[in-house]
């Protein structure tokens, strides 16, 4: 099929050379990240509009979020981002076992994030600090505090779904790493997973202060 003398196994037929394939993947991934930013963007618009309309509600309601848990989760997610970056670096150097270790740590940290989020959510559900018609909490002064919790649950919920999707992808590249699919010459899937994971981290970096700190 190919006239190239050397045609590595990972190179798909419609690409001429590995650089072209890797650059295409990266470009596609970045464009996909752009769509993710705009997907979340809609919720940032909702946040901005309603915070500007009801600053008092956002202030009165945000004190009901646990800054400590939020901060711990930020640390967890940032650390996982670091280990993800290190996983890629290890593979760039061809160190397969180091990559596996880093990916496993990333996965565990992601799990930790979700566990903490679970405790936060269940506490709120218990108190009735919920969106829309499920809102039954009575301890917040001002008009329509349910909107704050609606925005909170939507943004952190969508983020949580992205964490889950990220974990699924990490498991997939972990399996392929163990299988020996990757080398210093080809590690595009890990790199793409990394980009996605860093974006999930990036979004949390904004969510944390917006909800837990300034409200």
């Amino acid at each position: 099929m190919s006239s190239h003398a050397e045609h590595p196994k990972f190179l798909e037929h419609h690409f001429v050379e590995p650089e072209q394939q890797a650059a295409s993947a990266k470009l596609g991934m970045w464009v996909f990240l752009l769509t993710e930013i705009l997907l979340f963007g809609g919720l940032f618009v909702v946040y901005a509009v309603y915070r500007a309309w009801n600053p008092d509600i956002f202030h009165n309601a945000h004190v009901h979020l646990d800054v400590m848990l939020g901060a711990i989760n930020t640390v967890v997610l940032i650390t996982s981002s670091l280990t993800m970056a290190l996983a890629i670096r290890s593979m760039q150097l061809g160190r397969q076992s180091e990559t596996i270790t880093n990916l496993v740590i990333t996965l565990l940290l992601a799990g930790t994030f979700l566990v903490i989020k679970y405790f936060e959510y269940s506490h709120k559900i218990h108190l009735g600090q919920l969106p829309g018609k499920f809102y039954t909490f009575e301890g917040i002064e001002g008009t329509n505090p349910h909107i704050f919790f609606g925005v909170y649950f939507m943004m952190t919920g969508l983020h949580g779904i992205h964490v889950l999707a990220g974990m699924a992808t990490i498991i997939w590249v972990l399996r392929r790493t163990i299988r020996g699919d990757f080398s210093a010459a080809y590690y595009t899937p890990i790199e793409m997973t990394g980009l996605y994971w860093h974006l999930v981290d990036l979004i949390w970096i904004f969510l944390f202060p917006l909800f837990y700190l300034v409200g």
Binding site: E6, P8, A48, I78, S81, R89, N144, I205, P209, L213
Partner: protein
């Protein structure tokens, strides 16, 4: 695998990653710490500035934007620019509805229906609407 096929990459030293990671953790501490002081309207500005700086670190080092082709940076900036357009243009409307008539700025009845259910439901027409709203959400295809 022949050397010519290996991916072009710039391998950062481990120290850079660790330094950036540490900086991110320190900045997390800083943002929590400054939040305990009240700067009034500047609370948001301070918090967002720190967050933006942290985000820039992640993008530049973890996501390799600093070393990669600038097209990826362009894509990221495009996303941010269009998000800014979305926010700013929408708020042109939401923040200036009272320019000519103040009465247009706010809802007639500020409280949502869930806070009003104790009130006599037949007294005002608005409440009937709200009741309808809650009714129809019970089932998607009711009324057929």
């Amino acid at each position: 695998m022949a050397e010519s096929h290996s991916q072009k990459h710039h391998i950062l030293p481990l120290s850079v990653y660790l330094a950036v990671g540490t900086a991110l953790l320190v900045l997390t501490g800083v943002t929590v710490w400054v939040a305990s002081y009240d700067f009034g309207a500047f609370n948001l500005v301070v918090a967002m500035s720190i967050a933006a700086f942290k985000a820039a670190l992640v993008a530049a080092y973890f996501m390799h934007l600093l070393y990669d082709s600038k097209i990826y940076l362009l894509i990221l900036l495009t996303a941010i620019a269009f998000l800014a357009v979305f926010i700013i243009f929408t708020m042109f409307d939401t923040m200036t509805r009272d320019q000519i008539y103040e009465i247009k700025a706010a809802p007639i009845e500020p409280d949502a229906v869930i806070y009003r259910e104790a009130v006599d439901t037949t007294a005002g027409v608005t409440d009937t609407t709200a009741a309808e709203v809650i009714d129809t959400t019970a089932g998607d295809t009711s009324g057929h």
